[in-house]
Each structure stands twice: as C-alpha cells, then as structure tokens.
C-alpha cells in the first residue's frame, strides 16, 4: 500500500468524526485531530477501532497514545502493517 492510499483511507475514516470541516479541507501530515479537526476526544477511540477494522491490525495502548495527528497515525499503521 502506498502512502497516498493509506492517507486516503485514513481520511475516509476520520471524516465522519470531524467537526471542523475547514481543517479537513486543509489536511496535511501535521493536522492534529483535536486542535485542527475538533474531533471529540471520546471519538478518538472510534478512529482507532475503525483503523483496526480497515487495516486488520491491532492498536495497543502504546500505539494509541500517539494517534493524535495524521503523521503519527500513518506511522503507527505502517509499523503495524510491517509486523503482519
């Protein structure tokens, strides 16, 4: 899977939880889920669960802790996919 494909899938996953649409339009690697997209913190767990389902991976607590930006999430997903 290329990085572009991964980013596209991740964008699809987070879209229903985004409360600041402007942040979504200006999405970059540095986009922060809470600060820029205003995703409710209780919905971060839905993002994590959706990522697990979509990529068929398991996100442990240590990995979940980092998943607050696009960049960090891509790193976590790539890392878990490499372990498969």
């Amino acid at each position: 899977m290329t990085k572009e494909e991964l980013l596209s899938k991740l964008k699809t996953i987070i879209t229903p939880y985004v409360q600041n649409q402007e942040g979504l339009q200006n999405l970059t690697e540095d986009t922060d889920f809470i600060k820029d997209l205003e995703i409710n913190s209780a919905n971060l767990v839905d993002v994590v669960l959706d990522v697990e389902d979509e990529f068929d991976i398991e996100i442990d607590n240590e990995a979940m802790e980092k998943m607050l930006t696009i960049k960090a999430s891509i790193e976590v997903i790539e890392g878990k996919l490499a372990q498969k």
């Binding site: 913190s41 209780a42 971060l44 767990v45 839905d46 669960l49 607590n61 802790e65």
Partner: protein, 178 residues
C-alpha cells in the same frame, strides 16, 4: 491545578456508541469496567467515569506541561479520585438529566465553577468574572502555550491562575482557582 469536562448526554448518544465492540475496553481499566457493568445506569456511569478522566488529564497536563497524548487507560478512577502514575486528583461530578459535569483538582484546592446551558462564549463569561475580581481597569486576554493549554493574561502578562474550559453540544463551563 484543575481540569473540567462536560458531556452533553443527548449529543453523546448521537456521537458515541458505547456498546460498540472493544469501545469500552480501549478507554477503561478493568476496575472501571467493573463499575460500569455493576451500575444500574451503565450509560451514565460511562460518562461520569470518562468526564472524570478527561478532567484529570487536563489538570495533569496543566501541572506538568506535557505534549498531548491519548492514553485514557493510564488514568484510573478510584472512588472519588483519578490516579495517574501515583498522582491523585480529587474528582466531583454534577449530574443532571441533560449533562454530566466533572471537575478534577489537586487535594486541598477549592475551585469556583459555572455551567452555562446555552451556546455562549465561555471565555467571555470567564473574562467577565475575572474582571469583577480584579477590577474593571484590568485587561484580560488569553494565550495558548506550546501544548495548546490556554493561559490567562492580566494586562498582557501571563498569570499563574489555574483554570479550565469545557464545551460539548449545548453546554459550556469554566472552573478556576482564585
């Protein structure tokens, strides 16, 4: 140091499916899961425990200034406190049919708090309150530190006043230690 968190129960119902498989297990420790499953009102218990964790996270971040992270299981509700790596925050919750509102504080501090049941600027309300206390000639403004935590400035000088804002759905609140 202090933190607060409010949950609009009606909005929470729309935004979150707490019965989703693995959802609770990602957010809560074994001990907390037991509290939820033994509660007569598990849905309310979910939001009480969650808002207390969120409030404690904010107090802890204000105290130690760390970069944001999503580690809800590192924070554990233990009776009327939340424990994180041996640090304890006393928690209290005000619960109505519409919302659940929790405050977490360091033991020995006495916070002041107001909840607003409408869409208003909680920041402006808080600034008004501070002006009442400091005198109208003071200039109140806000900045954010590198972790995104708001800082109250009085006459453009950053203050040490500990406070926290929260907003969810129709509800807003602030809390402060004067």
């Amino acid at each position: 140091m202090i933190g607060n968190d409010i949950v609009d129960l009606q909005l929470a119902k729309i935004q979150s499916n707490w019965k989703r498989e693995k959802w609770l297990q990602k957010l809560f420790t074994e001990r907390e899961l037991q509290c939820i499953s033994s509660s007569a009102y598990p849905e309310i218990e979910v939001w009480v425990l969650w808002s207390r964790k969120e409030a404690a996270y904010k107090a802890h971040q204000r105290r130690f200034g760390f970069k944001s992270k999503f580690n809800p299981k590192s924070f554990e509700n233990q009776n009327d406190a939340v424990n994180i790596n041996g640090f304890r925050y006393q928690t209290s919750t005000h619960q109505t049919q519409k919302y659940v509102y929790s405050i977490a504080k360091i033991i020995g501090t006495e916070p002041f708090s107001e909840v607003f049941e409408q869409e208003i600027s909680v920041r402006a309300q808080f600034a008004d309150k501070m002006l009442q206390r400091l005198g109208d000639s003071s200039l109140i403004s806000f900045r954010k530190d590198k972790n995104g935590v708001p800082i109250l400035c009085i006459n453009n000088v950053p203050s040490e006043i500990s406070f926290s804002f929260t907003h969810h759905g129709k509800y807003n609140a602030y809390t402060v230690i004067f």
